[in-house]
């Protein structure tokens, strides 16, 4: 059999060589491919990922100061099956970690079905070292990202807080989650996203916070709130509502008294609304140069009587109606304008529709169920309509600027000009002059808001706080709306004080002209230099 024909021999040999060549070629090609492709390391995670970390971008203020950041902190967990003596573990842990939930931990460790029980999340390195030194088997550490707020005590309402998994649950933190600006990571690696720049100026924010705290102390007030707006861009430079909570303190944010009064609540703001009424009357053309308003008697509307807070009992011009804050005069103007045009004007100002910012939707404006004659007249001096202060401030900013202003808590890449004409430019000029006169005129209610060096214009508001049994038992809400420099409006502040008590010096008066106006003056004189606004002296307007 072996001694076959040489032809067959050769053919077989060729077949074997071809086969071998093909095999070597295959191996060679695969080797070349793997060599070129590079990474061929097979990944295998020895431990299944328990939870994924949420890496959040830093939050900075408009000048780059750090407001919130992630740091990696050890978290302690246990594998119940590997824990030998449960009671000993709980007892020893309680010794180095005071405040731990002992009963909950014991029941967790006794649960045979679990292989993973959190003991404490986000502990300090010193605490971790103490636990490590106990040398208890079955306990392990895992680095987790925790959110910290280095300057959080001044801006709690704006910054908000995160939950135990580092997910945003309030304030701008919730906005970060809603916009998917975070990353899920396996390790405790920090986010490499660019930081989120807020419109807030931390120095201004703190100044406002400190002055409002001072005001609460001075007037033994129940609460205070304030905001500073860049009129040109709608950026919120400062937003304080006291009592507040430090950023990250989710538990305190639930207390009803710590609600965000700037965006989270609506209030009847009182006479500051006359800025809107006067602008509306001017824009509608119902203010004639020599027209006067008779305030000698309270105005009767059906069974309802409208009277002035500081009655003058004489004929007032339109400007005097503003300066003396006459409810009667404002109501007459609203009547002249009429219900339909007033409703349309409020619509244009955005006072009747929900306001939404990065912090979420502001509390919905509370409007009269029917825009009748009476509600038109009461709304002219800020009663019968309740809006969130931020929404009112945005509307007022729109009036002095002549264009719609959308408030934002983020620093825009470019200083976008407010869009959409709102009122004629002359109406804005008219309103600014009125507001300025209210501060410069010795009879104006806003004279205590004057700041030497800055031409401030403004309007007071003193509203009875509604409560059980009607108005007048809960004290007043004193507020002051200010715009400066009035010649070329840059900034707007709105400061509110709830239930101020009269001081000796003010002879029992709690009107806004004696409370919110001087606080506004202190705020403006403190923050204007911080904002880089040069004072101008001896150039009265």
């Amino acid at each position: 059999m072996i001694a076959t024909r040489p032809r067959t021999h050769r053919r077989r040999g060729l077949a074997v060589v071809t086969l071998l060549l093909a095999a070597f070629l295959t191996v060679g090609i695969q080797l070349t491919r793997l060599g070129l492709k590079g990474t061929t390391a097979i990944r295998s995670d020895p431990v299944e990922t328990v939870t994924r970390n949420v890496a959040r971008p830093d939050i900075i203020d408009r000048n780059g100061r750090l407001l919130a950041t992630d740091i990696a902190l050890p978290s302690l967990f246990a594998d119940p099956r590997r824990v030998l003596d449960k009671d000993e573990v709980v007892e020893k842990l309680a010794g180095v970690l005071p405040g731990i939930d002992q009963r909950g931990l014991l029941s967790g460790l006794n649960d045979k079905t679990r292989r993973f029980v959190w003991i404490k999340r986000g502990m300090t390195p010193a605490e971790a070292a103490k636990v490590h030194d106990l040398g208890l088997p079955g306990l392990s550490f895992r680095d987790e990202l925790r959110r910290v707020y280095p300057a959080g005590e001044d801006a709690g309402h704006v910054l908000g807080f995160v939950d135990v998994d580092n997910r945003g649950a309030g304030g701008i933190e919730r906005y970060i989650d809603a916009q998917n600006l975070f990353d899920l990571t396996d390790g405790a690696g920090r986010s490499d996203r660019p930081p989120l720049a807020l419109s807030l100026d931390l120095a201004v924010q703190h100044s406002l916070h400190a002055e409002l705290e001072q005001a609460i102390g001075d007037y033994h007030a129940a609460a205070a709130a304030g905001l500073v707006l860049d009129v040109q861009t709608g950026e919120v430079l400062a937003d304080v509502s006291l009592p507040d909570y430090a950023a990250g303190n989710a538990a305190a944010s639930l207390e009803s008294n710590r609600l965000d009064r700037i965006e989270g609540g609506t209030f009847e703001l009182g006479s500051v609304f006359k800025t809107i009424t006067l602008a509306m009357a001017e824009d509608a053309g119902v203010l004639k140069p020599d027209k006067t308003y008779d305030t000698s008697l309270p105005l009767q509307v059906g069974a309802f009587s409208i009277d002035d807070f500081h009655p003058t009992r004489r004929q007032l011009t339109a400007e005097e109606v503003f300066l003396h804050s006459s409810n009667i005069g404002a109501a007459m103007m609203a009547e002249d304008v009429g219900e339909t045009r007033m409703h349309a004007f409020f619509d244009r100002l955005g006072l009747t529709t929900p306001l939404t910012t990065e912090l979420g939707r502001a509390a919905l404006p509370q409007l009269p169920q029917r825009w009748g004659k009476l509600s038109t007249m009461t709304m002219s001096y800020g009663h019968g309509i309740a809006v969130a202060p931020l929404q009112f401030a945005a509307a007022a900013a729109g009036l002095v600027l002549g264009g719609r202003v959308q408030p934002t808590f983020l620093k825009p890449a470019s200083s976008a000009k407010a869009g959409g004409a709102l009122v004629a430019a002359t109406t804005g000029d008219f309103l600014r002059l009125l507001m300025r006169h209210n501060v410069t005129n010795p009879e104006g209610t806003g004279k205590r808001a004057a700041v030497p060096g800055y031409d401030v214009g403004g309007k007071t508001g003193t509203a009875d706080i509604p409560g059980k049994g009607g108005y007048g038992h809960q004290g007043v809400l004193s507020s002051f709306l200010a715009v400066w420099p009035i010649r070329q409006p840059r900034y707007l502040s709105y400061i509110m004080i709830w239930a101020p008590q009269a001081t000796e010096a003010d002879k029992g008066q709690t009107a806004a002209g004696l409370t919110a106006a001087p606080v506004t003056a202190r705020v403006i004189s403190r923050i204007s230099p911080l904002l880089g606004l040069a004072p101008v002296f001896g150039d009265g307007l």
Partner: protein
């Protein structure tokens, strides 16, 4: 002739095998080094984050304000009247004007 080719091919094979082994070994060592460096960078970055947060916490206006009130009791926030421009200053050469000008006094 054929023998020579065979021997030289064999030598080349062995040599390339050794070279390949050396490269693989080096790569493994370098990969380990890279991983080690990356871990150290991550650790430094984590420390940096803690220190940055610490710095921001120590320089926050609320703390500076409290410290100033406690220890530098004569300091006040800058008042508008303390601000001025170079143009507000009298010329140094103009002695008469400088004499008439009220002295610059820091407001208490």
């Amino acid at each position: 002739m054929r023998k020579l080719i065979n021997i030289s091919a064999f030598v080349a094979l062995v040599a390339s095998a050794f070279a390949l082994y050396a490269i693989t070994y080096d790569t493994g060592r370098l990969t380990g080094e890279v991983a080690d460096l990356n871990a150290r960078i991550a650790a430094r970055e984590a420390e940096l984050a803690v220190l940055t947060a610490e710095k921001a916490n120590l320089t926050r206006p609320a703390r500076i304000d409290r410290l100033v009130r406690a220890h530098l009791t004569t300091l006040r926030p800058t008042a508008p009247k303390q601000l001025g421009t170079i143009a507000d200053l009298p010329w140094r050469g103009d002695a008469a004007a400088a004499k008439d000008a009220p002295p610059l006094v820091l407001q208490p």
